[in-house]
Symmetry: C2
Subunit: 388 residues, 2 copies
């Protein structure tokens, strides 16, 4: 892994887009190729097979999807396909991105009940179980990592509760800031739908919506009473296309983002080749996260997430010290060559900042990104007269 071919540039350590490996970025400049050419079919086929590994799934009746778009588009796929107008959704809310997911589902007529945790916390399993017993839910949605708070949901435990209390309910995971960072075992945990995007843990440039649907989810779509409520975000339109490409045959619904698919493949080849390789990637993100969070604690600062167990491993949201504001701090950090992100959760927007530590920045510590982030924060705070 290296960035030797890239010009000097500010280190982008936000919770996505993230820094790229040379091979991934070089793949973006793949020459023109017909989307129906044998070469591209092979590339897309290989990509879709690796997407199965990415979700640790061996169920031939589940299906991976890679579509030009963004993570947000994944919410439309959920709202337009998995739930029908007037049906119930239970939304486990851990921040801004859970709120937005709710907005997206409402557009498609879902009746939404929320179990909402205070900022930095997450709903308890008891609250979730109690809610599930109150009415029949078509889907339960979990924001695996809410990028606004850095809160990590316990997807495995929640899915266990859902499948025990209400086995017909689909378990839908927003994995935009978790896939390829946090442990996700699609088959073993009995998940039904996990959506993500290319520019976070997956390690490729933004521009692709990626999701994985279980056989049960695909059955639900097939048995809808009303038509799918979107044309572009239609699983019935895309399913035969993805199945064809994965079987090595061309098919057409909308032109795939050829170059972006090449870069996705280059990235997946670096870690989605086996479950062991993925597990090593998860462990590397835990180590990088611990390093960042230890440094933050040593500086006397607090994370937004209330404890380590409920903290994401690919990003950290940090409360500013008393008397320090983002417009003072972030430009100082930027002057040291490191780009961090401000707040986005409306209740605390001016009170915290966010650090991304995903992909090569986490799995290749020798590249020094995490060290640079810690130094830049430490030095900038010192410059502002703050000491732990």
């Amino acid at each position: 892994m290296s960035q030797a071919n890239q010009p000097a540039h500010p280190l982008t350590m936000i919770p996505g887009p993230i820094e790229f490996d040379d091979e991934v970025l070089t793949a973006m400049s793949h020459p023109a190729e017909a989307h129906t050419s044998p070469a591209f079919i092979k590339t897309f086929q290989e990509t879709l097979k690796l997407v199965r590994n990415l979700f640790i799934s061996s169920d031939p009746n589940a299906q991976g999807f890679v579509i030009a778009g963004s993570g947000t588009l994944g919410w439309d796929f959920v709202g337009a396909n998995l739930i029908e107008a007037g049906e119930n959704a239970l939304l486990l809310n851990t921040g801004y991105f859970s709120d937005s997911f709710a907005d997206a589902l409402k557009v498609y007529g879902a009746n939404i009940d929320e179990v909402k945790a205070p900022v930095g916390d997450r709903p308890t399993l008891e609250q979730i179980e109690a809610a599930l017993k109150q009415k029949t839910y078509k889907i339960v949605t979990i924001t695996h990592v809410d990028t606004s708070t850095g809160v990590l949901s316990d997807v495995k435990a929640i899915a266990e509760v859902v499948k025990r209390v209400s086995p017909e309910t689909l378990v839908v995971v927003d994995g935009v800031c978790s896939v390829a960072v946090e442990e996700i075992r699609f088959d073993e945990w009995k998940l039904d739908f996990v959506l993500t995007a290319s520019q976070k843990g997956v390690g490729a440039p933004s521009g692709l919506s990626i999701f994985f649907a279980s056989a049960q989810a695909l059955e639900v779509v097939k048995n809808r009473k009303t038509p799918v409520a979107s044309y572009f975000a239609s699983i019935p339109k895309w399913l035969p296309i993805l199945q064809a490409y994965e079987a090595g045959k061309p098919a057409y619904f909308a032109t795939p983002a050829v170059q972006n698919v090449y870069s996705l493949l280059a990235s997946l080849k670096q870690f989605a080749t086996s479950t062991e390789a993925l597990e090593a990637r998860f462990a590397a993100h835990v180590a990088a996260s611990d390093k960042v969070k230890d440094a933050i604690a040593k500086l006397g600062l607090k994370t937004v997430s209330i404890d380590r167990a409920s903290s994401a491993h690919g990003m950290t949201a940090v409360y500013l010290p008393e008397g320090v504001a983002n417009p003072d701090l972030l430009p100082r950090i930027a002057k040291r060559g490191v780009v961090l992100a401000g707040g986005i959760h409306k209740d605390i927007v001016t009170k915290y900042f966010r650090i991304g530590h995903m992909g090569i920045s986490a799995v290749y510590p020798k590249i020094g990104h995490v060290d640079n982030v810690i130094s830049a924060i430490t030095d900038s705070l010192q410059e502002l007269g703050y000491s732990a």
Copy 2:
């Protein structure tokens, strides 16, 4: 213009994706950059300003949109925003892509009347005027170039009829295979919505949905009686985002495809800098098209489009000679290093093939792409024992 930095590869001469200039392709490998960074804001701002030039519009109340997705997504923007369930759309049908546009609009509940031309032809202005007088239409849709037939619609003349007979009706143009190839004067022709994608005349890799909306279209969206029927494909969600970026400020709804925007900018800088530069590009496409169509005629072959006036300038659909089938011809052409496309219109699918001649292949004749195509077709037909 050059492809000196690209490895040897088959010449992709299909009606999109097209061959890329080095500068455009190199821009795809731009290093990581926050979508809210000053550098990216400047890039996106510059891109959006050039998008105005691309449509030859100087109306500050019109707005350009650049969104991760594909051309198909543009149809959802039309269906979910410009028309409400139960309202009438008049669809001018010139082939497969007009059929698909109709399918997309139906998802959103539009009542569709079609004026459908025989394969290779286009509806007459008299037919269109008669249809417009029968009922009130919210939108009229024109497929500027139907990529399945190579038929060119006379957008200027149609818009003139619509605005004369029914000024409230929005003129919606599918310009996927026409923008940056065929003359389009958004303001002067009183168009309301033109949608395209990055990978055809615009000359960049696939992955971006691009469209331009008039002040009247934006008013219609603002005054809807029912909510917009999509979350991702929502003009009210995207409008303030695009306005902010164009004004040099960051905003967030969904993460833009940063690298793809860089490549779009690199391409637009080559021809959307002025109306004169665009006019030169249109003229170059006419010249390339004439060259291809003259050669096709010299070979004794017929185009699917019935005459030159109704023929696209960025692609040519050609009937196979008697006794020659695509599975015989296209692999022979491919062996000569040129990739052409088969048929896609269901009525004639096995009877014709398609040639793309857009972007650098058209505006930079010295690169030899068009010559190579003509030689490859001529030699392959000769090999098959065909002579004019």
